[in-house]
């Protein structure tokens, strides 16, 4: 079952095309890495999927629901971690999770228990009642991750999720992403770190100058390109073939 779908999605800002005719389907159980250099269109693609941006043409779907036509129903399937940990500064991590959980329909003690679980999972118990504005970048990133995992999303979208995390937290996040995908969710993450994408992802797409140059399992991409090195070698080879 396809949980994430881009259908000829294009986004232009005036004369500049940030994303061009992206068509992509990601099935349940996939852990998909969208890789590309700065300005390739990764964050734009995520913006279209999460409703932050409206496509100039084309459509995006979450669990089969058109994001533009029924945004509330589509977003009910979504967990999202933006490229930086944007949190309400005056709230605490616990209040942030409570708010997000309530918006997803959770209530009462069941929600409180789930919040406690996520706070513990992301090592946030000691700062659960401190204001977000007083937390370090890495801690805020863990709060942002906890809120995205809180409702066991069918689709999890993460924009550069490893930035700001220490190696232990990175490893822990990797395990949780794999577990979520194993339970049948679709995970889409963007990253600059090609080695990380290769280690984590079951599937990858190479985005360059707003165009999807290739997609497939990291091994398959290597085979298709005729290269034998790491995913980064494939990426650099494709980038040289398609100058911006």
């Amino acid at each position: 079952m396809t949980l994430i779908r881009f259908e000829a999605a294009t986004k232009r800002y005036g004369d500049k095309t940030a994303l061009s005719d992206l068509s992509l389907e990601i099935p349940a159980g996939a852990l998909f890495a969208l890789v590309g250099p700065n300005g390739a269109g990764k964050t734009t693609a995520i913006g279209l999927l999460t409703g932050l941006l409206s496509p100039t043409s084309g459509r995006t779907f979450l669990a089969g629901i058109d994001v533009a036509k029924d945004p509330v129903a589509a977003k009910a399937k979504l967990g999202f971690v933006p490229d930086r940990p944007y949190l309400w500064p005056k709230w605490t991590p616990r209040e942030t999770l409570r708010f997000v959980g309530a918006v997803f329909g959770a209530r009462g003690e069941a929600l409180e228990e789930r919040i406690d679980t996520e706070l513990a999972a992301f090592d946030l118990v000691n700062v659960a009642d401190a204001r977000n504005e007083t937390l370090s970048h890495g801690t805020r990133q863990r709060v942002a991750l906890a809120q995205a995992f809180l409702h066991d999303p069918e689709v999890l979208v993460l924009d550069e999720p490893m930035v700001g995390l220490d190696p232990i937290a990175q490893r822990s996040l990797g395990l949780r992403l794999r577990a979520l995908a194993a339970r049948g969710s679709a995970v889409l993450l963007t990253t600059h770190q090609l080695a990380q994408a290769e280690e984590l992802a079951t599937d990858a797409g190479l985005l360059f100058d707003g165009r999807l140059l290739a997609r497939g399992a990291p091994g398959a991409l290597r085979t298709a390109s005729g290269l034998t090195g790491a995913l980064s070698d494939v990426f650099f080879a494709l980038a040289e073939e398609h100058p911006a």
Binding site: L52, V72, R84, Y86, K90, W91, E95, R107, A128, T134
Partner: protein
């Protein structure tokens, strides 16, 4: 800082003031127009006042214009100096200790002395802007009415600049002391509270001199004779009094009036350079303590499970508003204004039915204007205060229209309570006709509901997620635009309530206004101004691109 830094900062300020392009420019342009309108009204009003004064003084030979001018200038200079002092105290806590920009600059190879001087200059500029905005057009009009306009302008502006530099420097030094004494995370709140208390005291002081006496010709004449028949006391060591003396002499065409101004300017420049220079080491130490003391401080929170979505939305709004460091101070200032309004009610004329009707209309309009001030601070920034978390909010399955409704509800309840109490107290004293009282209550209720909706909607239509805080959002061009619209609604309310004002309007327009028409127009205007911005904002927050980076 070097020229490139200054140029970049100027470009960034222009970008944030004028918005990117297209729709984002609407509030900026509207705000600019509102500002020009305000200045034009100030200029026209002052010119009319000067003409009227000149005509009246011809009949009062015992009054000396120079004495009146000096006392008037002393009051104006004193008020402006107090405003700058309080403004710099509050602003300096932010610019000297909590500024992200200062943090970014501190890692560059720039001496701390220069950094502090730069932040002090910024503080002085920011704290002086509101007073300058009021003072420059007024002094311009006064100087233009003199025989030697250039001399008069110089004699007024030099001491004003000197007073601002002195007051700003004292405010900066006060902020350093405050942050040294008060725990860092409370300093901004304390500074804002001090400012609010100062402004409240000024308001009460202004009230204590009973300015309504000027409406009574006999009392007004007595007041003018007290102020204009005898020479003001010698300035002594008061810089404000010296500034007033110099400016008054300059306005009269006496070049010796420049001397106090030059002296005050030199003293101000000396204070503005020496205070930051003397306090470099203190600032460095206190700023380090502030940074080191700002780590997460947690306090176990009460477990309050969620029962409903509406409940959590209202709780979230309350947390955002009440935890803002400036909220208690802002509420304190507004409460002082509300108390003054109620205290004034017992002085209202109640003998004549026509006067009671007229004042009932004016009081209802004033109530809604005060509600507009409350709403500008707390309702207009409602959407913008999400800050960059707006990106997360947009990804949640929450209909923005429902969220706007919750934001409005959290702010409409106190707004309605305020408008009904203020109007109700006035009606209790005035006892106008039943029809007027009913109209006033209906207008107060509708206005109390509509104004927060208007502000919440406009704030959602033109959000500023990158603004430093709620006050910066409220005082931006969009906020000014929202205040102009809501003030228009408050003005319309006066005509909707008062039969006397309806007659006056009919006379001015040369038509007979049907009795119920102004009330109907007000209700329609309130409905449109509440529903249209909220509907447009709901649509915009659903479909427009969001960029918070």
């Amino acid at each position: 800082m070097n020229a490139v830094y200054r140029a970049n900062a100027a470009r960034a300020a222009a970008r944030s003031l004028l918005g990117a392009r297209g729709r984002a420019r609407i509030p900026a342009l509207a705000g600019l127009l509102s500002l020009l309108l305000f200045v034009a009204l100030e200029v026209v009003g002052l010119e009319a006042a000067i003409r009227a004064s000149a005509a009246a003084l011809a009949y009062l030979p015992e009054l000396r214009p120079a004495f009146l001018a000096e006392r008037l200038l002393a009051g104006a200079f004193g008020a402006a100096t107090a405003l700058v002092l309080l403004g710099s105290l509050t602003t300096a806590v932010s610019t000297l200790f909590l500024s992200d920009e200062l943090l970014a600059l501190a890692v560059l190879p720039v001496p701390h002395r220069r950094l502090l001087a730069r932040q002090a200059g910024l503080t002085l500029a920011l704290a002086s802007i509101p007073s300058l905005l009021l003072a420059i057009p007024a002094l311009g009009v006064a100087a233009a009415a003199c025989r030697t306009p250039a001399l008069a302008a110089a004699a007024c502006l030099l001491p004003l600049a000197g007073l601002f530099l002195l007051a700003g420097s004292f405010g900066i030094a006060g902020a350093l002391v405050l942050v040294r004494l008060v725990p860092a995370h409370r300093a901004r709140l304390f500074a804002a509270l001090l400012s609010a208390l100062g402004l409240s005291a000024a308001l009460v002081g202004f009230r204590a001199v009973r300015p309504e006496r000027l409406l009574d010709p006999v009392e007004a004449l007595g007041l003018l004779q007290a102020l204009g028949a005898s020479a003001p006391p010698e300035p002594g060591v008061s810089p404000v009094a010296w500034a007033a003396r110099g400016a008054a002499l300059g306005l009269a065409g006496d070049p010796s009036g420049l001397l106090p101004g030059v002296a005050l300017l030199l003293a101000g420049l000396a204070a503005a350079t020496s205070v930051p220079a003397a306090l470099v080491s203190v600032h460095r130490a206190v700023w380090r303590d502030v940074r080191e003391g700002s780590a997460g401080r947690e306090r176990p929170a009460r477990r309050r499970p969620v029962r409903s979505l509406a409940g959590i939305l209202l709780r979230a709004e309350a947390a955002t508003v009440l935890r803002d460091a400036s909220t208690p101070a802002q509420l304190g200032s507004l409460a002082a204004v509300f108390v003054l309004d109620i205290l004034n009610v017992r002085l209202l004329p109640t003998s004549d039915p026509a006067a009671r009707d007229l004042v009932a209309g004016l009081q209802t309009g004033l109530s809604l204007f005060l509600v507009a001030a409350l709403s500008l601070r707390f309702a207009y920034p409602a959407v913008s205060t999400d800050g960059r978390a707006a990106a997360v909010l947009r990804s949640l399955p929450l209909d923005p229209r429902r969220h706007l409704l919750a934001r409005w509800a959290a702010r409409a309840a106190p707004a309605v309570a305020a408008s009904m109490v203020l109007t109700g107290v006035s009606l209790e004293v005035l006892r106008p006709s039943a029809a007027t009282a009913g109209a006033a209550l209906a207008v107060a209720l509708a206005g109390g509901l509509a104004i927060p909706a208007l502000h919440t909607g406009l704030g959602g239509l033109f959000p500023r997620y990158d603004a430093a805080n709620a006050i910066a959002v409220a005082l931006g061009p969009g906020g000014l635009f929202a205040l102009v619209l809501s003030t228009g609604l408050a003005l319309l309310a006066t005509v909707a309530v008062s039969d006397e004002l309806k007659l006056l309007l009919g006379g001015l327009l040369g038509t007979r206004t049907p009795a119920g028409l102004p009330l109907g127009v007000f209700m329609a205007a309130a409905a449109v101004s509440a529903l249209a911005p909220v509907a447009l904002a709901g649509r915009s927050l659903t479909t427009s691109d969001i960029s918070v980076g």
